[in-house]
Symmetry: C2
């Protein structure tokens, strides 16, 4: 079922007619869309619609809008994070330049919003309200992420709040918008939002875990990137919280070295993470979020086909390797 929805989204994305000129504006957008990805968020939009008995056609344009919005955030985040690569290809600001990345991102955001605005008239105002709210939240999450770089004394609840805003709420809004397009009540749509947020938290924590413990061959990007860049992830914050004196001293040593051998640092930090049993603890936390989301979904008495879809979606997330 998920594969079919992904295929549907792929086909409809192909049908988007982008202008070709000015080429410095539109080539980066075509390039960004073609980088691909799992199209998780638009799948959730379609599943949100399916869950409340709607037809996927009623949610397809908002689904595309959510995917394009997500791509826009990646495009601008990559400038701010000075990231050279995305899915093993040069980022837009690296391949063109920062100005082109800013402006083509602005247009991509606009094109995304145009797709959202194709929602049916009776639900349009509510869909837009959810969409713009989540857009603000995602920007706030990115700002917190940047602020955290220079912040000491960060605690795990701060980190959870940051990933909630930066990542999880968009998964929540995807389900919510899909449900609204399927003519769900506002209440049901809001409950689906909460479920999506929990899926999103699980998703991001799993991302952090894969970044440290993923398989280099299947992960698709450099394993240990977060460790190398001292990124304040759940793993790092929890390790500093749980470590004994000597472990803490070693962690702080690695995180403060200006020059180091990258694989050596990654292995040493991972060893401490493992000694502290963090992979198990993280997996338990992730499982708790998934279970809570699925239990809440069960309570809502929505369509069986939709629930099957969400289960399949969740299974594919749980077992993912990248």
């Amino acid at each position: 079922m998920i594969k079919e929805l992904q295929q549907y989204i792929f086909t409809e994305l192909e049908k988007l007619h982008l202008p070709s000129s000015p080429s410095n504006l539109y080539e980066p957008i075509g390039y960004t869309i073609a980088l691909g990805g799992k199209r998780l968020r638009p799948v959730l939009v379609l599943l949100g619609c399916e869950l409340v008995g709607g037809k996927k056609e009623d949610a397809i344009y908002p689904a595309l809008g959510i995917e394009l919005f997500h791509n826009f955030t990646l495009l601008h985040d990559d400038i701010m994070d000075n990231a050279p690569l995305r899915r093993n290809k040069p980022t837009v600001h690296a391949k063109w330049n920062a100005n082109i990345a800013i402006l083509s991102g602005d247009v991509l955001f606009t094109i995304a919003s145009q797709q959202i605005a194709k929602a049916a008239a009776p639900v349009l105002a509510e869909v837009l309200s959810v969409y713009f709210k989540v857009a603000v939240d995602v920007c706030e999450g990115q700002q917190l992420d940047m602020d955290f770089e220079s912040l000491d004394n960060l605690e795990i609840p701060d980190y959870i709040e940051m990933i909630r805003l930066k990542t999880a709420v968009l998964l929540g809004a995807s389900l919510q918008i899909g449900a609204l397009c399927g003519n769900a009540s506002k209440e049901i749509a809001e409950q689906l939002y909460e479920i999506g947020v929990e899926l999103g938290l699980a998703f991001q924590l799993q991302d952090d875990l894969l970044d440290a413990f993923g398989n280099e061959e299947t992960f698709g990007k450099q394993v240990g990137g977060d460790i190398i860049s001292n990124k304040k992830t759940w793993l790092k914050l929890r390790a500093l919280e749980k470590a004994n004196a000597s472990q803490k001293q070693e962690l702080i040593k690695w995180y403060s070295l200006k020059e180091f051998d990258a694989p050596e640092k990654v292995n040493a930090v991972k060893q401490i993470f493992t000694d502290l049993d963090l992979p198990n603890e993280a997996n338990n936390l992730i499982r708790r979020y998934y279970t809570s989301a699925l239990n809440k979904l069960e309570d809502l008495h929505l369509t069986e086909s939709g629930k099957t879809g969400i289960l399949e979606f969740t299974e594919s997330l749980k077992t993912r390797v990248n």
Copy 2:
């Protein structure tokens, strides 16, 4: 009348409730809005509504949205143009940094769109369609402006097309959106768009003229900035077209010097502009656009109060000194 509308917009802008945290995201937005400006575009939205017999309250939120959208474009343009000052104050990227300017611009665009999305349900889809279309156009205009920097053989029609997209269409869309909010037919709203575009072309050409020939004391920014930076304005392109061999040689000399005394360059280039009678020629062109716009407006048989407002608006543009 215009003053009252400006005051109304000022009051409603004050009532916008911006969050305070994360402060790195919202302080630059408050700062940008507080920089002020003439609020021309939201005045046009309200006048568009008035022209078709609507109440200004029906158009106020889209009017605020247009003003905030305009402020967003300035914020991002200032990064791309590496501009240190705006209205004699440091730009956001100069006062904070480029990342903060990118992200607070993204949020400002979102907040602008939220205001637009408050248009009444019966006109919402059409208002959004005009708004997102003009947002794309403005980005295309900015891209052309950047592309033109490294383009030889630029001709006046290329320049007019660039300023049409970068500046004029937003004035057109302001009138159009106001008219839609006042329940005008799509046809009338589109005709008001064309009128607004002509006002916008006149406005921008006058801006170019003020940049070279404005009074240093009343202009509020460095007179001759366009000349110093070799900006391809109507004045420069027309001068190169109209100059005799020796004038052309002198122009090219000034435009290719890497080091120069700024006032000397400004005076020399302005002298050639004057010798070529360009201020008069530009003023005639500007007057033709204004006259054409007002004639088209007369043909539409709209409210007398609205027409009086547009006349007053146009007069204030014609006689402006900054």
